[in-house]
């Protein structure tokens, strides 16, 4: 079953099965099936409000009490939703680490960055005192912070955004994670710094053999780093495929729209996707993308299309039009310029 939605033949490291997250005002995640394999780099792409971050925050117990979770999220065979809060807490920062968008505000402003990293070392590896300081310096070196010994003694406001994000990465690595979830890790940074951070994440993943989930609204960021991409729309996965496959032959009109809307070098007009992601309390019937879709037909509103294989192995799409020959026709129809 898990192999159906990717993640390789071996048991996946983390798997979502019919995972749902509801808020008092409506559902934010409406049934996600997804798996991350050991050492895999998976990209999650979608507009803001598509539920791409909420899925992970909810699974790790990082949303407030108002979130209602149903379905399953299993990590290494353990159901995260059924886990006692304290046990789930100890999994975070240990086997599953997370980094967030704005590194400046994600670090505690009144604590030295070194001690914030050391806190993880104490918590998950039992290191304290001299050993913790030495390991913190080693981690700072590993994430490319120069002059580590001095920098560990500084406060977040004394470091740049890029350096703070490196600190956050060091903090994530401190617990020896099997999985690193990076939620828009470069969105708040300058372009040149973005590239550095992404390269760092890529190198670390290869060196340490950990799995990486890279959540981003930017298809090009995800395309660079990941083995496989899952496209999120209105709380569901609408398409998932290996990176090359997805970028070369997107099957879902939304994915095609995302690629068309992404700025690229070379003279090509951007094609925006009209409208916006529907609010959770205002979901259209059937396919949630249908109201914005150029190819929508009458039966699109009848039922939510399931995520089904389309042609190549590991390529799934949730669109009535993208199965079999329909996909090719659809691509032909939407191709704005040679890719």
């Amino acid at each position: 079953m898990a192999a159906d939605h990717g993640g390789g033949a071996a048991a996946p490291l983390l798997a979502f099965d019919g995972f749902r997250v509801g808020f008092p005002r409506g559902p934010a995640v409406r049934g996600i099936d997804l798996a991350v394999g050991r050492g895999e780099a998976l990209g999650i792409v979608g507009e803001s409000g598509s539920g791409k971050s909420v899925t992970w925050l909810a699974a790790l117990g990082l949303l407030g009490g108002s979130a209602r979770i149903s379905g399953r999220a299993t990590f290494d065979g353990q159901d995260l939703a059924a886990m006692a809060p304290d046990r789930l807490a100890r999994l975070r920062g240990g086997r599953i680490a997370m980094i967030f968008q704005d590194p400046m505000s994600a670090l505690n402003p009144v604590k030295r960055v070194g001690s914030q990293v050391a806190e993880v070392l104490k918590l998950h590896r039992g290191l304290a005192g001299r050993a913790a300081r030495a390991e913190t310096r080693r981690l700072f070196d590993q994430v490319g912070i120069p002059d580590a010994a001095r920098r560990t003694e500084l406060y977040p406001h004394e470091l740049s955004g890029g350096q703070n994000q490196r600190v956050a990465i060091a903090m994530a690595l401190a617990g020896h994670p099997d999985l690193l979830v990076a939620d828009e890790p470069t969105t708040a940074l300058d372009v040149t710094i973005q590239a550095q951070i992404l390269t760092l994440l890529d190198d670390l993943r290869r060196d340490l053999g950990m799995a990486l989930v890279l959540i981003s609204h930017d298809l090009s960021v995800v395309g660079e780093l990941c083995d496989r991409i899952a496209v999120c729309y209105a709380g569901r996965i609408v398409e998932t495929a290996p990176v090359a496959q997805l970028l070369r032959a997107p099957a879902h009109p939304y994915t095609q729209g995302l690629i068309g809307a992404a700025p690229r070098f070379g003279a090509r007009a951007l094609v925006p996707i009209p409208g916006q992601v529907p609010e959770p309390w205002n979901m259209p019937p059937g396919c949630a993308f249908a109201p914005r879709c150029l190819h929508a037909r009458a039966d699109c509103a009848a039922a939510e299309p399931p995520l089904v294989p389309v042609g190549d192995p590991g390529h799934l799409s949730a669109c009535l039009l993208s199965g079999g020959t329909g996909a090719a026709a659809l691509r032909e129809e939407t191709r704005h310029a040679p890719a």
Binding site: L60, G61, L62, P85, D86, A89, R90, L91, R92, G93, G94, A97, M98, F100, Q101, D102, S105, A106, L107, N108, P109, V110, K111, E119, V120, L123, H124, Y155, H157, A168, M171, G175
Partner: protein
């Protein structure tokens, strides 16, 4: 750091000097202590003798000069009413005032900060509403009303506690409760909003993401940040500690500094009033200075500017 401290101390001394000068002029120009002390029917010779004895016949700036000279030597002058040393008289009362102020402050801080934190952690739930209802009520009811109600209930009706005076430890309970309620109410609301703001910050989520359980996140990451504005507020309270009990002391006839202020101002006992003012101003200025220092200690972002 030393330069910073020195600058602060000089500024503090200047503030105290201004307070002393303003009070000196105001007290000596608004009415004649001789008439207040000796009575309106006193013969002119007696008044003249009184003036000469206390140096009131000299020009104002000469009087101020000699007053300041004495002050520098730690001499606050003598009470015009009974000739007692002003400083001694004031310090006696300070000790009595602190008997209710210190326990009230400790109680107020514990109750206020505790309630505010609990309310923030239960934001929007019934417990939060209940705590804030209590805080708003405590804030809205003036101290003298609350004091009188407490007297009515515990002294008059139940007869468990004395209605005033400092004859036994029981006498401290009602004034302490009255003062603590006001402070706790202010601090509860202040702590709640500071805490709520901090709990919404991304670094709180980072704390959870690194594996801390919620209680640890609150203690290690939320509280140190929320403490910054709360400490400021407590600093202001400590600053107003000595002068803050005038009303409460009157209600419970507590023979502290507040009562001394009332009697010495109305009898134009200038040396005593001046002494009280210097002391009150000094506590205010000192506590502000301590808050500034604490601020830099609590919040590393404030350090560069101060040094």
């Amino acid at each position: 750091m030393t330069a910073f401290l020195l600058r602060r101390v000089l500024r503090a001394l200047l503030t105290i000097l201004i307070v002393v000068a303003a009070a000196f002029v105001a007290l000596r120009t608004t009415s004649d202590p001789a008439i207040v002390v000796l009575g309106p029917d006193a013969p002119p010779e007696a008044i003249a003798a009184f003036h000469e004895a206390w140096g009131l016949d000299r020009p104002l700036w000469v009087q101020f000069g000699s007053y300041m000279r004495d002050l520098v030597h730690g001499n606050f002058g003598k009470s015009m009413l009974d000739g007692q040393d002003a400083l001694e008289k004031v310090l006696d009362r300070v000790a009595v005032t602190l008997q209710i102020m210190v326990p009230a402050l400790v109680l107020g801080i514990m109750a206020g900060v505790g309630a505010g934190t609990v309310a923030a952690l239960n934001r929007g739930r019934p417990l939060d509403r209940l705590m804030m209802l209590g805080a708003v009520s405590g804030f809205a009811v003036p101290g003298f009303v609350l004091g009188l109600v407490l007297v009515l209930v515990f002294a008059v009706t139940l007869q468990w506690l004395p209605s005033g005076g400092n004859d036994s430890w029981k006498g401290t309970l009602l004034p302490v409760l009255t003062l603590a309620t006001g402070w706790a109410a202010i601090l509860a609301r202040f702590t709640r909003s500071a805490m709520i703001e901090v709990l919404d910050q991304p670094y709180i989520r980072t704390g959870s993401a690194k594996g801390l359980i919620w209680r640890e996140v609150v203690i290690r990451h939320a509280m140190p940040n929320a403490a910054i504005p709360v400490v400021t507020m407590i600093g202001f309270m400590v600053g107003g500690l000595l002068a803050g009990a005038v009303v409460t002391e009157s209600v419970f006839s507590w023979p502290g500094l507040g009562q001394l202020i009332v009697t010495s101002v109305s009898s134009r006992d200038v040396a005593v009033v001046q002494c009280v003012l210097v002391l009150v101003a000094a506590t205010m200025v000192m506590s502000n200075m301590i808050v500034d220092l604490l601020y830099g200690w609590l919040d590393p972002r404030m350090r560069e500017g101060g040094r």
